[in-house]
Amino acid sequence: MANKSALTIDALEVDFSGFKAVDGVSMVVEDGELRVLLGANGAGKTTLMDLISGKTKSTGGRVFVGDTEITNAEEHRIARAGIGRKFQIPSVFRELTVRQNLEVSSIKRPGVLANLGLRFSSSQRERVESILDEMGLVDVANETAGALSHGQTQWLELGMLLIQEPQILLLDEPTAGMTQAETLKTSQIINRLKGRHTLVVVEHDMAFVRQIAERITVMHLGKVLAEGRIEDIETNEAVREAYLGSGGIH
């Protein structure tokens, strides 16, 4: 395995009683790269993320973070290996307040005994406040997260991910339900993360994709259909046919 690659996926597949939702996908994401994952509804993008993050157990193939194999490891081990995830249906701690959500995510040493202390370090606190500010959640910081609107929940989950500071971020449709302006802000945040973190982003919003994309992988029916830079993909006839429609990536 190349040392530089952050995430290596090797012939990964999963079989749901006969139906292969991910079917022999191989992919190498370099350290600090931002990879956009495109594909039709049902192409297997979310499932691929499920496989990487341990939500779904694969039936073939392997996954590495750097040199560490994480294939089918327990979720928390994968997380500790450096993978953070934002879900397609935003997933936050609905009964905790927004601030508490971020505080929990800011904990770096995950053991029980390491956390028997009462306080968070001042740097953690500052980080929480700055993320609240950055995500526009200051006003609702003391609300329970269950009362947030869909978009606010998206921001919160993104904030949790940022504060968790994983090496690799898997973002499943991070801008779904956001206004254009909000989408723009998200793309700015993501662009700032580039280089420091490795990102894999699933999106259907082509305007957004254009704002962030470096390399794009297109999936179709569980397989990799195409991979390349934005211009290559845009002009790829198969991709146009299966996915983009008349608009292209605009």
């Binding site: 993050s53 341990g54 939500k55 327990e74 979720e75 928390h76 997380a79 500790r80 953070g84 995830r85 997933s91 936050v92 701690f93 609905r94 009964e95 905790l96 508490q100 959500n101 505080e103 929990v104 995510s105 904990i107 995950p110 053991g111 029980v112 956390n115 028997l116 202390g117 009462l118 968070f120 003391n142 949790m160 968790q164």
Partner: protein, 385 residues
């Protein structure tokens, strides 16, 4: 309500509670002190339930197992320390019931009077019984917890597993009559003696022993859930999968707090033996375990103090009603009605009510922004609830 104000009110509530139980002896006779000592023990059970149910989301319908385990461990030691144990013609203490259950001709010695009686031997040292009173529940909880939480069992399935476990253990305790005295339980116990001081259950000192331990447990538990680990725990209760993706080893947290809760219940079991002077397999009856849960719910399962007060309050009310001549037969119906009404009208229990009430008062005081909406004239939509 601002956070600091909320915190101050909570501290005030804790301080008031502690003050009340500490000055209670000034107003109560020794009978009521003994009775309250028992209820304080139940209050400790409330704390244990709130910790596992309210904070961890683990509804344990078998908390009686841990209470019972704690009770039996100390009772075994106190049984062996009881003078009547020695007065049976043997040089070493042997529980009287073992004599009745022994095969004819069996040696009158703890090692081998009946099969398994050797298990009692270390209990000749009271310290061992007291240690096991916490260690055994913790160990049991640790074992159960490790298995079920690794398997990601949750919700009602945990409730049923714990329920089946307590029923199973109860069955075995009753069946293993030669070493447990079966259904009759352990009675004729010595008083706990520390440094030559005998804790007669009808002494002020015994009340303060219980009250002191309760206060320590209450504060300790409150601090524990306020730790970062406590926050993680609540996050796990909320969405255990999300917590996994943040890197937390969920079963470890669940097992840890489950075991702490079990330890508290075991401690409560021991204290109960000190004030009530017996241990019985009925401690592991299902109804008792469910009753504890009801106490906690009435008090407020998300509040350690609330659950604790709930247990004390319900028992006090129960005792008062059932001792009112008019209600000797009907008191249970009244209690049943109270449960229904509390669940319907105080969904977060007394603690939730207290929080809402104080929030409302505070809201009144600093009127202006964020005053709660008035409910007058609103259409209610059932389906939305």
């Amino acid at each position: 309500m601002s956070e600091t104000l909320q915190r101050r009110l909570e501290i005030l509530a804790y301080a008031t509670f502690i003050a009340v139980i500490l000055i209670l002896p000034a107003f109560a006779d020794i009978f009521w002190l003994n009775r309250f000592a028992k209820y304080l023990v139940y209050g400790m059970l409330g704390i244990a339930i709130a910790m596992s149910w309210g904070y961890s989301g683990i509804l344990n319908l078998g908390q009686g197992l841990f209470f019972g385990a704690g009770a039996y461990m100390l009772a075994m030691s106190l049984k062996l320390a009881s003078p009547t144990s020695l007065a049976q013609g043997s040089d070493t203490p042997v529980p009287d019931f073992m004599l009745w259950n022994a095969e004819p001709g069996a040696p009158t010695d703890l090692c081998c009077i009946t099969g398994g009686s050797w298990l009692w031997m270390p209990f000749q040292w009271v310290g061992f019984g007291a240690f096991m009173g916490i260690a055994l529940p913790v160990l049991l909880a640790f074992t159960i917890g490790t298995v079920i939480f690794r398997q990601r069992i949750s919700g009602v399935f945990v409730a049923i597993i714990t329920l089946a476990t307590v029923l199973l253990v109860r069955l075995l305790v009753i069946d293993l009559q030669p070493i447990t005295n079966g259904f009759n339980g352990l009675t004729d116990l010595a008083w706990l003696t520390i440094g030559g001081f005998e804790f007669d259950p009808y002494l002020l000192a015994t009340y303060y022993l219980i009250a002191g331990i309760l206060i320590a447990v209450l504060i300790g538990a409150r601090l524990l859930v306020a730790t970062r680990a406590g926050l993680v725990l609540q996050a796990i209760r909320d969405d255990s999968n999300r917590a996994r993706y943040l890197g937390f080893d969920v079963p470890k947290y669940q097992t840890f707090f489950f075991a702490v809760s079990a330890g508290i219940a075991g401690l409560a079991g021991m204290l109960y033996v000190i004030v009530a002077e017996f241990a019985s397999p009925t401690f592991m009856d299902l109804t008792f375990s469910i009753t504890m849960v009801v106490w906690a719910a009435v008090g407020g399962r998300n509040s350690l103090l609330g659950a604790c007060i709930g247990a004390i309050l319900i028992n006090t009310i129960e005792a008062s009603i059932s001792e009112t001549e008019m209600f000797v037969e009907a008191w249970k119906a009244i209690i049943g009605l109270i449960f229904v009404l509390v669940v319907l009208f105080l969904p977060r229990g007394l603690a939730g009510f207290a929080q809402d009430a104080s929030a409302w008062v505070v809201g009144r005081l600093n009127r202006g922004e964020g005053s709660p909406a008035s409910a007058v004239g609103q259409t209610r939509n059932q389906a939305a609830e």
